[in-house]
Subunit: 156 residues, 4 copies
């Protein structure tokens, strides 16, 4: 399987894997930080949705405009907002499930030429569509693994 197909497959599988990892946790467990100075599992779950909402948007901008501005977002500030710090995760898991299904359909529909299209990220500079795909597929996996490893360590 090509790198690209692996990355898309990873995005396709994330919602179910994340649901399995977090839906059985209690509120007390969700509100536990996965390490000193780190976010809680609840915050990580909302963060994965927010990151991927941004990723989906950036990828559509790259495909529909010439070198669009890709606006960074302040992930720490987003994770500190009340809905992300304390809100229930069910709606967020639902969002991720719906968003990823459509996002995968979008990614699979693109012609080869789309993947070298570029956007201008206001902190990281030029990024191709392939760069954004790689960054966010790995970003989701990495946070999922962070949650799973922490739960194993805690024997949850």
């Amino acid at each position: 399987m090509s790198e690209r197909n692996e990355l898309i497959e990873s995005i396709r599988q994330l919602p179910q894997k994340l649901e399995i990892a977090v839906s059985r946790l209690t509120d007390v467990q969700l509100d536990t930080q996965v390490g000193e100075g780190k976010w809680t599992i609840r915050q990580l779950t909302h963060h994965i949705a927010d990151a991927n909402i941004n990723a989906y948007t950036r990828m559509k901008l790259i495909v529909t405009e010439v070198k669009p501005i890709l606006k960074p977002y302040n992930q720490d500030a987003w994770a500190s907002l009340a809905d992300a710090a304390h809100g229930p995760i069910e709606a967020t898991l639902t969002t991720i499930q719906g968003l990823h299904e459509r996002w995968v359909r979008f990614l699979q529909s693109l012609p080869e030429a789309s993947w070298t299209r570029e956007g201008i990220h206001l902190e990281n500079g030029k990024l191709t569509l392939q760069d954004v795909l790689r960054t966010y597929a790995r970003h989701g996996e990495s946070h999922l693994q962070q949650i799973i490893s922490f739960c194993e360590k805690m024997k949850w």
Copy 2:
């Protein structure tokens, strides 16, 4: 009820109203344009999700940054992408359901002072958080009404 609460209530109700309006339609009906030179019901459904993903993002940017850039998106180009023009609507209805629930929780958590915060939209200039709320609550209602009216006219 204050204007703001009415607008938030409208955002809260949209997912269910939209689901009732479109989930019973056949693929042929979904692929019918609601007027000459207008989008199909399928495109409108995906467009409501895309617009509100952008609205959710803009509102979080306004709350977490000082006068952030609010990036416009090319709605016609987005609506012409394969997933929006031809993709099934179920995942999109799921996304809207999850997104709006969390979006409402976010909006209800904000202190009064947040509502005069501003972003800089690259086409429309300065917008307050209240402006963005008003624009998108009415935008969703307007497209929902467009779909409902068309179905009534068609006796669907």
Copy 3:
């Protein structure tokens, strides 16, 4: 004379008026702050050039693009740079003389329709070409008057 012509005339006259006001001052006088917590006459002179370099650029962007981004600049940080805080003013007076002559020729060449064109200032939002003209013509006059009034007060 129309408001616009008055503003353009003000821009045309500024270089000579500024030269008369500051070229006869000693270095010690140039390095005197015009008030507590205010800039020195030297900094004000360099600042007028920097502001108008930005104004010239913004106006050309507005005329040659559709709703261009107008980038703010941090005027306090610019005024604290070594060349602005301590550098001789002769080259800057020369720059202002040349720049304003060309800037006026540019402004006088524009068709009526240009004056309602807009740019998006990243702090102030939408600005028309006429807004930018008004802001910068008055900005230059205001700083010139600040220098002249201070010198009168000091009997220089």
Copy 4:
């Protein structure tokens, strides 16, 4: 001499070299294109000033902000404006003379650490201060050489 010092020296020398090259030309000569589909010497002269006004601004933005947006400009549209296509070059030569003198003073005042600071160019992505220096020093030299070579070919 280091690359950086050579580039700064090139910026320092440009105004005089350009003045020698173009100030003795007649209006008819100034209005001659330097090649098919190329600009006239008059346009090139105004363009060098406009490019370096933008370069000066970009470099000050990079030094005074964290990863500022560097706004591209449409050089062909600027060169087609009346003042650039048909205006006298004297004021522009004066501007270049004054601007370069101050620009060099600014460049020579910077600590080593400034040179790796970055801006985000909306077409080219991340650029360091050193990148911008190199680009514009060479850009000026290249256009100067273009004018000189053309005049030699024409035996002017």
